[in-house]
Symmetry: C2
Subunit: 710 residues, 2 copies
């Protein structure tokens, strides 16, 4: 018997390494491809037995591709979790001991169409919803429940999404590059489509559906008109056919001048009949190929992109023209509010508010205005955008950035849930206390018919999807928060670590701690006390000294305003008065440099170098303290990670450990750049206890210039 | 017993899917990552028994990192091939039944340093060489022998490389993009280095070593000066540390103006003492970090790149200055001969010869001049470059292009070995008959001390390395031919298919047939009868009509010279007389349009549309026949592939099948573009039997322009 056993083992092992895509010396181990959908075998015998009680059948009682995806996922998940292939049936009359997927009839005021309910009934686990999407979401939640090794006993879960359009924005170009992408090339292989449909598209859809994302914009907001051509529409349709099976609608970014550059018209004026007709036809052409097409995302009259203002029209004119083309269909128009003029005397902070608030009420109901979380541009910390709450008649969607454009690319570990939460939980006071940004975005404050939360994707064709293994958590966190913005950063981190990295409680505790502190640590060595935008050419290297941009707001000095007196941008009445765009209660928090919370200090005040802060230190000393302790805290992160080592896959452990080494080196680089540069204004020594940088400012500049030379 | 069996099966399967990086619904199956190093389990019992006879131990009798890599590879390979973990020892006195790796002492005139010998001795398989590299190569050959299921009985293999420097050229940019790359982003992750060393670097080195490649140039010949900075040198060193273990030397492309842009000097004049000193220091700096650094690759005064001619100096002046910097070291300077001036009256075909032949004998012995296989630029078919044979005092290295810049990117299947062979086997007649290009390149004709064959890599971070699964064969073929240019295209194809796709003889027969015909099929629908360069903006879409380039030789019409009389570039005495650059015997072959073999006809002659060709058809009819039968032959390729289906991994089968669909559509696109365009000159109908294109020339142009608009 032994021999046959051994043969069996060998053949199994080799089968294993055969199907293993990483079956080579160098790359054995977990390469992160499976994300949080690993479905590792349940080892706890009693728990496994409990799960097995409900694994005698899967009853798929409803038809449809999406429910089909749900039962397929459930079948695969259970086979991996329990090592048992559970058969799928479409009826279960009288039978118990299975999992039932069913469409709920009858109204339930508490539950929205996409909501789900999971409960025990008749000895079965019943996953129900009014919609196919809801069944799919519930199925993923049930699988997550088992992946987290939670008991079935007393199982009763129900949830509805707080936001209707939960989508990723891909800044992917047709040539395969990704603007602000740090995880390889675009997932979308335009040269291969439509004939070749990469199996990875399906895994992408699974990952998104598993966190409730129901929309994806495939191409960069700096859009190519190419995507409006028949050649590309059929390519997009092939991708949409995959997304549809997972309840995900496909959207496209559009180039506003396409009627001219692609259509050959003499104008792209939104009020021109020919232009309106061209877009109508174009949208009809798209719906012929993609019956459930989601809509357009538009970046217009922003950073050199064409738009309605090129013809003396307003953003509303442009958006409404496109909305008109979508009249016969479900599709929507998402119009970005990310605009700012090249005015040396203006404060970029105020630009979006000034351009859009006057347009409130002028947008077609099919239009959603998409607003970045902060007034500037995805900085490590920004106050919430003053637009939120100030356009009650216009649905405002939230735009978060998941990709780490200003957060160290793929070599710094920054868990972003706290950034998202900080903005969502901010109180605008527009309808009195408790008028949080979240309530603006989820429509509960102004009763928006259509609500949206978008995240600029951090995915690429890197095997592990996001470059930095820990960056997977940012994709996960965005999805979870777009479904329920009341979840805590800690709760989401615990979920993600348990699903992705380790079942070990102690190890996961260390990693969650690392994640929860990571953003503040980054801010400390990168942009403490409300500093912002020390970036120029590459958004990677420190350039606080940069003063030669093609426009004033494309320099670094425009933002920090360092001089011999002090540091920071005065946005009070004595300065740009951007604060006036907020409600009085908000102004109160930030109006006086003495009361302004330190994280926001330099966002609103030009502070004297020697001013004593609430910490008891002078501004200069406090800055130095942040830069130094921030850089040193990376060592603490390394230590936390090492404490988890024993419970982690070796390949993932090493990957992160090595990236943390890079982060440590670069954190010191940032520290030195800031400290040496600001010292030329502050003209004070590095406070006692901190070892002065080993290099000169000139040397730091040289090391930065390396990233700028050809 | 059954139950424990089943549990065992499950746990094995789950172990399998656990280590499987592709353990998800969509991407199970073979994703091509393992290339030709799969080491699939030997199923034939008697053969397995025969192998097992020599699998009782691995004796690594020599020290060193490279031998270490050899025994590690052998251990891993055997464990997968035989399902047995063979223990490694460093002595085997008296023992038999193992595999011995040993350094050969004593001279053997027939064997070069890197050569290997594999033979049976004392009941062992002995892999021996004078060098560590040789042992590694021999080990890979032995593993290939077993992967091909060949008997050990009478095993006796020995081989030495015919060329000394066998290297890949990566046209990879520091931002991760790859010029002319169609398999994703660069493998080299500069932002992560030096701290993070991607495990994939090791698999890259294994793949190269397994086919005898011993050098790699990491960055684009359109080089960034960045790589000469201390910041990047340490990054490069981290990659070199991996390559070294597999006998691969690391090289860099250099930006000739670096002394100015990086060094801050006022000039980059190669005769300027400061410039010479700067390069000397720079090279010394590199060797401090990379003691076995390979050398520089230089593209100078070519397509706008800076070079010695900017200072009135010659290519020799520039190359020799760099060679001087390498005097204290082993490193070499590889100087590209890819040059051509923007002269409307000149024939680009003649440019390299005119610039370089006068410099013969003027280059430092450390310099190798790297010449593209053809006189123009990696066209689907070109005559061999007239430089070969005409610089007897200067080592000429061969530059082939593996990446499919002009061969349909990653959506056309083109097996390139026949392209490489066609050039290598061409007879230059410089020392009488039999003076093949191969003999020039391997040094046997002119006794070059240093010989080189380079291939522009087709690798990227796509999971399967090369985008198109069949493109892996081109990497493999280049490596095999760089070791032994006498191998046949068919032999190499058979090897690769057996190692990579299937053990099934019948299936492999179909695939090899497909591969061997693929290049001619591509030429037929793309550039038949000696047409060339119908490309402009993207090197993907047909643009034979393109006539607006920033310089005359950057248009398409410059190359095909279509007019109302006929088609083709007259390079005889009545034309540019480029033919005069070849020996009389070569001129004879191509001098008269009646005798010129059809594949080269339009390379050398402007032929009347109605001229009867050796096929009995007029030029116009023959062109149409090629375009149509070429496009239709893709259907034959699809059929051959489908005949192999049953013996292929489903994921790989589908991937290629879908790409063949794209190729079929694009082949018709090419056909229509050419036929409709040339028809405007030939003014003749499509010959009977061929269905005229379903679209107009304007429609084809529009479909092409899609790839050019923003």
């Amino acid at each position: 018997m032994t021999r046959s056993f051994i043969i069996l083992i060998f053949s199994c092992l080799l089968y294993g390494s055969k199907i293993s895509a990483a079956g080579t010396a160098a790359s054995d181990g977990d390469d992160g491809y499976r994300l949080w959908l690993k479905y590792e075998l349940v080892k706890n015998a009693s728990l496994k037995a409990e799960y097995l009680k409900y694994a005698t059948f899967i009853a798929q009682t409803a038809e449809g591709d999406i429910v089909q995806s749900a039962s397929r996922e459930l079948h695969m998940g259970l086979s991996k979790l329990l090592g048992k292939s559970v058969h799928v049936t479409n009826s279960f009359e009288g039978k118990s001991g299975g999992i039932v997927l069913k469409l709920e009839s009858g109204p339930d005021p508490t539950q929205q169409a996409e909501g789900y309910r999971i409960q025990l009934a008749g000895g079965n686990i019943v996953v129900s919803s009014k919609s196919e999407n809801g069944i799919l979401y519930g199925t993923f939640v049930l699988l997550r429940h088992m992946q987290m090794r939670l008991p079935v006993k007393g199982l009763s879960l129900a949830s509805s999404p707080k936001v209707r359009f939960r989508m990723l924005n891909h800044w992917d170009n047709p040539d395969g590059t990704i603007e602000r992408g740090y995880a390889g090339q675009s997932l979308w292989k335009w040269y291969e489509l439509p004939e070749r449909v990469d199996p990875r598209y399906t895994d992408y859809a699974r990952a998104n559906a598993s966190v409730g994302i129901n929309g994806t914009v495939l191409n960069n907001v700096n859009a190519s008109a190419r995507f409006m051509s028949q050649e590309y529409i059929v390519k997009v349709a092939a991708v949409a056919n995959v997304m549809r099976k997972y309840g995900i609608k496909t959207y496209l970014s559009v180039y506003f001048a396409a009627p001219k550059t692609l259509g050959g018209l003499t104008t792209s004026d939104p009020l021109d009949p020919q232009v309106r007709a061209w877009w109508k036809e174009k949208v009809a052409e798209i719906y012929k190929e993609i019956p459930d097409f989601g809509g357009f995302l538009v970046k217009a009259n922003s950073e050199g992109e064409p738009g309605p203002q090129d013809y003396g029209r307003t953003h509303a004119d442009g958006a409404n023209m496109l909305a008109e083309a979508f009249k016969p269909y479900d599709g929507i128009v998402v119009w970005r509010a990310f605009v700012y003029k090249a005015d040396p005397n203006a404060d970029r902070f105020k630009a979006a508010y000034e351009e859009f608030v006057p347009l409130d009420g002028k947008f077609d109901p099919k239009v959603i205005v998409q607003v970045k979380n902060g007034p500037i541009d995805f900085q490590p910390r920004e106050p919430f955008s003053p637009l939120f709450g100030n356009m009650p008649k216009t649905p405002l969607g939230m735009e978060f950035q998941i990709t780490q454009e200003y957060l160290g690319f793929a070599t710094h570990a920054v868990y972003e849930a706290p950034i998202f939460k900080e903005c969502l939980d901010s109180d605008t006071y527009v309808n009195g206390e408790g008028s949080t940004v979240a309530k603006v975005v989820d429509g509960s404050l102004h009763g928006y018919a259509r609500t949206l939360m978008a995240g600029v994707a951090n995915t690429g064709n890197s095997r592990n999807w996001t470059g930095h293994p820990l960056a997977q958590a940012n994709w996960y966190a965005f999805g979870r928060l777009s479904w329920d913005h009341q979840l805590s950063s800690e709760h989401i981190a615990h979920e993600w670590v348990a699903l992705t990295l380790t079942e070990n409680q102690k190890a996961s505790g260390h990693i969650v701690k690392l994640m929860l502190r990571s953003r503040e640590i980054y801010v400390d060595y990168n942009t403490p006390l409300g500093l912002s935008r020390p970036w120029m050419g590459v958004h990677f290297a420190p350039e606080p000294w940069e003063n030669k941009g093609s426009r004033p707001d494309w320099t670094a000095i425009y933002y920090h305003r360092a001089d011999s007196v002090g540091l920071g941008f005065d946005r009070t009445a004595s300065g740009s008065n951007a604060l006036a765009q907020y409600r009085p209660q908000v102004q109160q928090q930030w109006n006086h440099s003495d009361q302004t919370p330190l994280p926001y200090l330099l966002w609103f005040h030009h502070v004297r170098w020697d001013k004593k802060l609430s910490t008891g230190r002078s501004l200069w000393a406090e800055l130095c303290t942040r830069f130094y302790t921030g850089a040193d805290s990376v060592v603490w992160m390394q230590q936390q990670w090492d404490l988890a080592k024993g419970s982690l896959d070796p390949q993932i452990y090493t990957d992160v450990a090595e990236r943390l080494k890079v982060q440590r080196r670069e954190a010191i680089w940032w520290r030195d750049a800031w400290v040496l540069y600001l010292q030329t204004f502050a003209r004070q020594p590095i406070p006692a206890g901190f070892e002065p940088p080993k290099r000169t400012l000139e040397e730091v500049k040289k090391s930065v210039n390396v990233y700028l030379i050809r």
